[in-house]
Symmetry: C2
């Protein structure tokens, strides 16, 4: 029944959503009830900024041609990494994609003729968690994404904060010494506490190649000293970051997302204890794992598409929540 055209009402509305990463572009087609089609393609970022943007346009076309005949596309939602100014619709800078001052929203509007919602990958993920996942009904919260990189999104008084794209860029800066960072600084949190840094620091200290932070954690659990030290350093830096986020924003709720959250209580247990030790006048925040996993960015992009189309988000959020929280 859901895949037939209602002759009285015509084809049903659908959106196309893209979560653009440095390695893959994940796409999906969704109607108000949930996902209809999905897939992913390689970003080919190494081939240059223009090539990466061409892949984005091709992927939008692929997704649009995957919209079933029973549906008609009403909007496009796209989330990208880097410094993203949602208000202007511009990717100010993306290290991963090589983009600089790229008017993504306008280019996509011209390409598709559709309403376009454009956002930042971490803020899109945070929006999805806040509406569908681990942050529902909480007006003041931060979302911390710990994966290859490290960044936060601030939802304050129910509104996502952007500050021209620079809000939540906690992975870089703050320190005056420490290990050199890709950003040109030293001792940035991303050099110690990202999933990539955990693997890199372990290999640098032990000479042993590992399969990511998960492998380092397994070695720490097995009692290996170097692995334990590297893991504990990461948790300590993360604790300091989360405590700073809470001190500055005052939020009572912190959602931890990104690949590292798969460590579960090995991460969250000591993180809660150490954040608590660093807070004195602030109430202890709830620190909870993200509920949507790797799909948060795509769900967020779909919501961006619906919002741009002018749809009423209420029933969509209700329907998506059930689908999004279902274990994959």
């Amino acid at each position: 029944m859901s895949d037939t055209v209602d002759p009285a009402r015509g084809p049903r509305p659908a959106v196309v959503a893209l979560d653009v990463g440095g390695t893959f572009v994940k796409w999906l087609v969704a109607d108000e009830r949930g996902v209809l089609r999905q897939g992913s393609v390689e970003t080919r970022a190494a081939a240059g900024p223009a090539s990466a943007f061409a892949v984005v346009l091709d992927t939008v076309d692929t997704a649009l041609s995957a919209v079933p005949a029973t549906h008609r596309p009403v909007g496009v939602g796209v989330a990208v990494p880097g410094t993203v100014d949602e208000r202007r619709g511009v990717c100010v800078h993306s290290e991963n994609l090589g983009w600089r001052d790229l008017p993504v929203a306008q280019r996509l509007r011209e390409h598709t003729g559709l309403a376009v919602g454009f956002g930042h990958d971490v803020r899109s993920g945070a929006t999805a968690e806040a509406r569908l996942g681990a942050g529902r009904e909480v007006p003041d919260q931060v979302y911390v994404s710990v994966g290859t990189g490290l960044a936060a999104a601030l939802l304050l008084d129910g509104r996502m904060v952007s500050s021209g794209g620079y809000a939540g860029e906690i992975g870089h800066g703050g320190a005056l010494d420490g290990a050199p960072c890709v950003c040109g600084g030293r001792g940035c949190a991303e050099t110690v506490a990202s999933a990539a840094a955990i693997a890199r620091r372990y290999t640098a200290a032990s000479g042993v190649a590992v399969d990511g932070a998960r492998d380092v954690l397994a070695r720490a659990r097995a009692g290996e000293d170097v692995a334990r030290r590297v893991w504990d350093d990461a948790v300590e830096v993360l604790s300091s970051l989360v405590a700073d986020l809470v001190r500055v924003t005052g939020v009572p709720h912190v959602v931890i997302g990104g690949g590292l959250v798969h460590a579960g209580e090995d991460l969250l247990g000591p993180l809660r204890d150490q954040v608590r030790a660093r807070l004195t006048v602030h109430p202890d925040p709830r620190i909870v794992p993200a509920a949507l996993g790797g799909t948060a960015g795509s769900w967020g992009a779909a919501l961006l598409g619906w919002e741009a189309s002018g749809a009423d988000l209420g029933p969509i959020v209700a329907a998506y929540g059930d689908a999004a929280r279902r274990p994959a």
Copy 2:
């Protein structure tokens, strides 16, 4: 002309505003064009929480009876220190006043029968700076008040952030060691970088009593080593705080207020350099001194009163701006 009743329109509207501090309650009566009457009374906080609140009610009565016969009071604005939840109208906790979970807004409404605007002293000062002073026309900014205490206010996307009263409480927490702080923590920023801490640390290190941070700065300027070290420590801690504020919120504009800003370029010069050194991916923020000085809290309280009364703030802000920025 301004002090006569227009027979066609009746008495003109006025508000009563209180800036409640631990030592003095400053009050004023203002109409849409500026201040009509003002004064201050001792808070007598040492006599206990109930006494301090009785002083507030008395001061409201004093101010109301000072409203000229040509005017009629339409609102009351009150700013208080501590943890203030504007949404609920409650002072959650004020160390200085001894208040805990005091429903200030409701009590004042019952006492006066007028519309009441209730706020936090630092956020009120920040609102005044943002509308009348050094933060005009800037939607994303932070205000840092460095005086007896140390706290910040966050204006993001044109809206003041509160998070139940805990936003911007950067003076406490964050560290795990250092000097003991009144909050029960160790190494809090307030133990090094507040105006009070600068005087206290100098006296502890030198055995010499001083007349506040101003005196310490004068000794540092004169080449005294201990004073220089104490001053530089304070600037370093402040730089770290301001850099954290910018990293978390992404704002391009920082207003420094409170007593310490009278140090001028001795504070702002090294602060700008050190904040810049700590930022890598964020653009260097503008760091500017507050424009309204010690009157920011009172102007902010007056705006709270007008807002509560339902008045159109546009013309009031325009008229107040000229008055507020005039050197006292």
